[in-house]
């Protein structure tokens, strides 16, 4: 059954009539094919939405230019993500929010075309930006990219026959390298890579610039965060998780100091609206929506834990001894876990190992 968060959608559409919203809550739109399942949309600002439940939070720019996603979720959720995007577009279309055509209002002509208009079909997914090589970021690349399109023409279309097949997948080149190491399918690999500190989507997308900022050696060695410059929204990827300690894959080049550098870079960009609240909104890799104050807290916590682990290393303690001293105590009930794919001990080990490796180099 569709569990698209219609109330969230309604909150973003102030023009919508309350009765209409209530009716939609009671009778969610049902369509053929895969449903959105337990995925939920939450409006962030302007064209930017947060999709919750796909293995990671997916940030989406949805508008007249089509759809740009930051991360693709896990592979098993791809069909639901595609369905959720179509549902969102259908509902935005129903209120005319994606319709680029304007009603005729020339001269004495004041009639609206809306009573007889049918709305345009949903626009395609055109870009996926992977913020790391972790499976919950890139797992859905293949299926979601295949459902999209890249607009090409001229020489490109003539010489590279498949250049318009599927959406473009953008990532730092280390993401591509890690995915190749893992023998991921060709269709899942990034189609546009960069090796510089920043990458910009070449033109405005849905009325704003989109900037990708590389953060070296954070969760992995290919991490980035994405800044939607008009909406003033940052998709932080795995640098910032509101429901766990950050995942740090040391084998793939991750480090605690890299995560902290990324968080401090986000704080440099972010400007609060009032009293350190709101303003630049930050979509975390996991957990609830945040802002600069939340990123500040997360940065503070990780710095304090880093300092404690470093002090214990300086005392000459082994990893087992460091774990026994519980440097995460104070934050475990909120962010820790004793089970699942990312436990508190795994986090402490990652911090310890990355600090030890830093001290060697």
């Amino acid at each position: 059954m569709l569990a698209l968060s219609v109330c969230a959608l309604a909150a973003a559409l102030p023009a919508a009539d309350a009765q209409q919203r209530a009716a939609q809550q009671q009778r969610p739109v049902q369509r053929g094919g895969e449903s959105a399942g337990e995925l939920h949309w939450w409006p962030v600002r302007k064209n930017i939405w947060m999709l919750v439940g796909a293995g990671t939070n997916i940030a989406a720019s949805v508008g007249p230019d089509g759809v740009l996603l930051v991360n693709a979720g896990t592979a098993d959720k791809s069909a639901r993500v595609i369905a959720a995007i179509k549902e969102l577009q259908a509902q935005l279309n129903a209120f005319g929010f994606l319709d680029v055509m304007q009603p005729q209002r020339g001269g004495a002509e004041t009639r609206s075309r809306f009573p007889v208009n049918t709305h345009a079909p949903p626009k395609p997914v055109r870009y996926i930006i992977d913020t790391s090589s972790l499976p919950h970021s890139v797992g859905g690349n293949e299926a979601i990219a295949a459902s999209g399109v890249t607009y090409t023409g001229g020489n490109v279309a003539g010489t590279i026959a498949d250049s318009s097949e599927g959406a473009a997948v953008v990532a730092h080149e280390n993401v591509l390298n890690r995915m190749v190491e893992r023998d991921m399918p060709f269709g899942a690999l990034p189609t546009e890579t960069f090796f510089t500190a920043e990458y910009k989507v070449s033109t405005f997308f849905n009325d704003e610039g989109v900037q990708v900022v590389h953060v070296p050696n954070a969760a992995t060695d290919g991490d980035s965060f994405v800044f939607f410059r008009g909406s003033d929204v940052i998709a932080a990827g795995d640098l910032f998780n509101m429901d766990s300690f950050p995942i740090i894959d040391v084998e793939s080049g991750g480090s605690i100091n890299g995560v902290l550098a990324g968080l401090n870079a986000i704080l440099k960009l972010a400007i609060p609206e009032f009293r350190t609240e709101g303003g630049t909104m930050v979509i975390p890799g996991h957990g609830r929506l945040g802002d600069s104050a939340d990123v500040g807290y997360y940065r503070d916590m990780l710095t304090i834990i880093r300092d404690q682990v470093q002090a214990l290393i300086d005392e000459g303690l082994t990893l087992e001894q460091v774990i026994e001293r519980k440097p995460t105590f104070g934050y475990e009930a909120r962010f820790g876990s004793n089970s699942g794919p990312w436990t508190t001990e795994m986090f402490i080990e990652a911090v310890y190992r990355s600090l030890k490796e830093t001290s060697k180099s």
């Binding site: 939920h40 947060m50 902290l260 009032f274 104050a293 710095t303 300092d307 909120r334």
Partner: protein, 320 residues
């Protein structure tokens, strides 16, 4: 030992003894206040339901006769049912963190602002058609506006953003207003590093009453926090209506207060913070007292204090 030294030791002994008595008095006052708060809370929730509603609009200076006018000591955690993790957080907290840019313009959050000395303003937002109250808007000096929605809207889902004021909805229980608040940011229960988690929620009661020709607003706050509290924390504050009051603007500018390395966050390593003994040392008491958490909320705690106080007196310099 010379005369001067003996006199000094005697002074210390007397001072220590006074401090011990002062602590007993200090904690007993807190216990009495807590009992008053519990009693008023019980009176609040125990009253029968009525159909009347109440208007809370107006300018409300806080009645500064409770424990809301002095800064707390570092390490003063009595009266708060802190978890062990909360005590660790408080122990490693360094007050100079407040000088970081991300901390400079923060207001107090919903769980604390009513306990501070900030003046309150309340006004009604009314539906233009039905004339029903949509929300009571509340504003404290140095804080953010927080609406208490009265129109039956649901609380946001768990993945929505949190704010300092949280998200509040109100329902009438007779002429008192019951308020449920969720979606707060992380903050503190006391301004000495005692943490409040962002998963905490509040149940609050607003009671307006008239006493000796003056209008009073009693604001009861019950905090539930699975992360940092082992039991609910119940506190209350009194406001007195004064229509001549103004809540002035309180702008804030973020500046670089201290030149530090990028990314530096002030904090104490566990076991290294001597400042948290400020409270126990000031009153001449053993330092382990403040680890007692919820125990410090109850009247029986005075028995333990008596025992500990006697020990402290025996340990005082000049008696050995």
């Amino acid at each position: 030992m010379g005369f001067g030294a003996a006199a000094t030791m005697n002074s210390i002994t007397i001072a220590r003894s006074r401090q011990t008595r002062a602590l007993r008095g200090h904690v007993m006052r807190k216990v009495r206040r807590l009992r008053l708060a519990v009693a008023s809370f019980a009176a609040v929730i125990g009253g029968g339901a009525a159909t009347a509603q109440m208007d809370f609009s107006g300018e409300w200076p806080v009645v500064r006769s409770q424990d809301n006018q002095d800064n707390p000591h570092l390490g003063e955690y009595v009266g708060i049912p802190l978890s062990r993790e909360a005590i660790r957080r408080a122990e490693i907290w360094d007050a100079s963190i407040q000088s970081l840019p991300e901390w400079q313009c923060r207001p107090h959050s919903a769980a604390y602002i009513k306990r501070g000395p900030s003046n309150l303003r309340v006004w009604k937002e009314v539906d233009p058609a039905s004339r029903q109250i949509i929300a009571f808007q509340t504003e404290w000096l140095r804080s953010t506006n927080t609406p208490i929605y009265m129109d039956g809207r649901p609380h946001p889902p768990e993945y929505a953003a949190h704010t300092w004021g949280g998200f509040s909805t109100g329902t009438w229980e007779g002429d008192r207003l019951r308020v449920e608040t969720t979606h707060m940011k992380e903050d503190y229960y006391r301004r000495n590093g005692v943490p409040q988690s962002d998963t905490a929620r509040l149940t609050e009661y607003l009671i307006r009453r008239r006493f000796q020709n003056e209008d009073y607003l009693t604001w009861v706050i019950v905090a539930y926090d699975d992360v940092y509290l082992t039991e609910p924390l119940i506190r209350s504050t009194e406001y007195r209506l004064n229509l001549a009051q103004l809540v002035p603007p309180y702008p804030c500018t973020i500046v670089t207060e201290v030149v530090r390395p990028e990314g530096y966050v002030p904090n104490w390593l566990p076991g290294k913070n001597d400042q948290i003994y400020s409270f126990s040392d000031f009153y001449g008491l053993p330092r382990e007292l403040y680890f007692d958490g919820a125990e410090t909320m109850y009247p029986e705690y005075r028995n333990k204090l008596e025992r500990v106080g006697a020990t402290a007196a025996r340990r005082a310099p000049g008696r050995e």
